[in-house]
């Protein structure tokens, strides 16, 4: 297997608040990695560092063999890194279909019919086709999350970063989402998934890392990680002495 992503000793701080502290890990091509950690642990900042929205203070990020540390967000997107935002960031004045077209034309670099066909396909897969002509600003939270996933997929990513995409969904919606993500994964896309809905995560990922205060505090096979007392205390708030 080849390495698709590698973080080497990446650090980032805002004043007294450290969001990434000597963070290192790698991801194999086609692997699905889950990320756990309490709110404010620096998980979303880690995504910002990988996508180029944030520049690290120190460290190196390699994607598909290239050092991308100095590249901007747009270049990284075009090279195959796509993400969904935890707080959805739709283009509110554009329709759902046009939102998808932005990804297909600008990131995936498609044009004309080819771009349109991809968007229709993905919208069908993410169950947004009925809303294709709706303005994105008027969507419900669930549909905004679906739109996040849609846009990320229309970018034809090699690496897909999902940020709490299952939060706030009903059980049935969650089950459908898991099936979608599994099929994306099966098509060969590498995935890093930040999620609080642990059972959803466990259904898809092959490996877990746990982050707190910007540091990687555990890494390994999902079941073993979830059973470790340290993780239980930090992540679930269950106190070791309680």
């Amino acid at each position: 297997m080849t390495q698709i992503l590698q973080l080497d000793a990446v650090s980032k701080a805002f004043g007294a608040v450290t969001v990434a502290d000597d963070l290192s890990y790698g991801l194999e091509e086609g692997e699905a990695l889950g990320v756990l950690g309490p709110n404010g642990a620096g998980k979303t900042s880690m995504f910002n560092l990988i996508t180029g929205t944030l520049k690290p203070d120190a460290g190196r990020i390699t994607f598909a063999g290239d050092d991308i540390t100095a590249l901007g967000a747009a270049r990284r997107s075009r090279s195959g890194i796509a993400r969904s935002f935890q707080v959805p960031q739709p283009f509110t004045h554009m329709t759902v279909f046009e939102n998808a077209m932005v990804a297909a034309t600008q990131s995936a670099g498609l044009a004309g019919r080819e771009a349109e066909r991809l968007c229709i396909e993905v919208l069908d897969q993410t169950e947004l086709l009925d809303k294709a002509n709706d303005r994105a600003g008027g969507l419900t939270l669930l549909n905004r999350k679906r739109l996040e996933l849609t846009r990320a997929l229309c970018a034809k990513p090699r690496l897909l970063l999902l940020d709490e995409i299952a939060g706030g969904l009903t059980e049935a919606e969650c089950t459908a989402l898991i099936a979608t993500i599994k099929s994306i994964h099966a098509s060969g896309v590498s995935i890093i998934w930040i999620e609080h809905v642990v059972h959803a995560l466990m259904a898809v990922v092959e490996r877990l890392i746990v982050i707190d205060f910007g540091r990687k505090i555990a890494e390994g096979e999902p079941k073993a990680i979830m059973d470790s007392p340290e993780v239980q205390e930090i992540y679930l708030g269950i106190e070791a002495d309680a």
Partner: protein
């Protein structure tokens, strides 16, 4: 399953508008044969203002680059027309095209500097650049220094035989400039780059994450707009036949009025500048006798529109009737049997 789905980029209203528009264009092309000399001059001025307004709208309404210094390129274009025809002996039409090219070129270092400023400071930075242009041209004594110069009569004569032929040519150039600018803006906004611009306007964070290089996109729009503005500037002073630093780089004439036009008509729409130009000239032709009062009324109307109806006249119409004469979007249509 996607066979019964098609993507449409037009609407019935737009088709009707296109036919009507083509008809109006034909009538306007024929204007030298039916309009009087004064009307022709006025219409020429209207088209040049329409071109300026459409360009400023592209810059501010779509690329978010709120410039109050576009007079820099109007004046630059005007001076280039004079300099290239007087010093290099180029035919005026070639000089006009070259003025556009040079305007685009000079806007590159300007952009590199003022793109360091954000928001409203960018706006005033553009004004400083326009002042620099004005002061520099005022130093060129070969072009009349601070008091300016006239276009030599032999150059004017070289354009066409006879006064009415020259005035018709000047009119057609103005009409052509307006048509080219509006069409160019429309095609740009329908293109892949236009989609990027619209996305940036909505959400910069998401745009960057979807592969859009925000700086480059804005830079591209700034350079293209500046070049086209310089061409319009050259045409403006081809009409006036006389240029001076104060007239060429007037913030009121080439920027304040243009901004008022766009805002009153509806910023961020292609239709807005067209409506705004009509409103502006209606106001001017009815109130011009009032002098300074007219300008105060204009300022007041712009303020009231911005505060009470920031989408302008066209924004109001579009909202009310769901109308778009220049369709930019995509509609997904599914056949009934799906």
């Amino acid at each position: 399953m996607s066979t019964d789905i098609r993507i449409s980029r037009t609407s019935n209203a737009a088709k009707v508008a296109a036919v009507l528009g083509a008809l109006i264009v034909v009538i306007l092309i024929a204007a030298p044969y039916w309009a009087g000399r004064a009307d022709l001059r006025l219409m020429g001025e209207i088209f040049l203002y329409l071109a300026l307004a459409s360009l400023w709208n592209l810059l501010a309404g779509y690329a978010g680059l709120v410039s109050v210094g576009q007079q820099a390129y109007v004046g630059f274009g005007g001076y280039m027309l004079f300099a290239l025809t007087i010093f290099s002996g180029l035919p005026p039409l070639v000089a006009i095209a070259l003025a556009g090219l040079l305007g685009a070129l000079i806007s590159i270092p300007v952009a590199a500097l003022i793109f360091r400023l954000r928001g409203a400071y960018f706006a005033i930075g553009t004004w400083v650049m326009a002042e620099v242009f004005r002061l520099v041209f005022a130093q060129v004594s070969a072009l009349g220094g601070g008091s300016g110069t006239s276009l030599p009569t032999d150059i004017v004569r070289s354009m066409a035989d006879g006064r009415s032929a020259r005035e018709a040519l000047s009119y057609w150039l103005a009409l052509g400039a307006a048509l080219i600018v509006v069409t160019a803006v429309y095609l740009l906004l329908r293109s892949r780059k236009g989609l990027a611009l619209t996305a940036i306007r909505d959400n910069e964070l998401a745009s960057a994450s979807l592969g859009i290089d925000i700086w480059r996109t804005k830079f591209f729009v700034y350079v293209v707009t500046s070049g086209l503005t310089a061409i319009v500037g050259a045409l403006i002073f081809l009409q006036k036949l006389r240029i001076s630093p104060d007239a060429a780089f007037s913030v009121n004439d080439w920027t304040a009025f243009v901004i008022f036009i766009v805002v009153i008509g509806g910023i961020g729409t292609i239709e807005g500048p067209i409506i705004g130009t009509i409103v502006f000239f209606l106001l001017r032709e009815t109130l011009a006798d009032l002098g300074t009062i007219y300008l105060m009324v204009l300022g007041l109307v712009a303020i009231v529109v911005m505060l009470k109806a920031p989408q302008g006249v066209w924004g109001f119409i579009r909202h009310r009737f769901d109308l778009q004469l220049f369709p930019l979007g995509y509609r997904v249509e599914r056949s009934k049997d799906s």
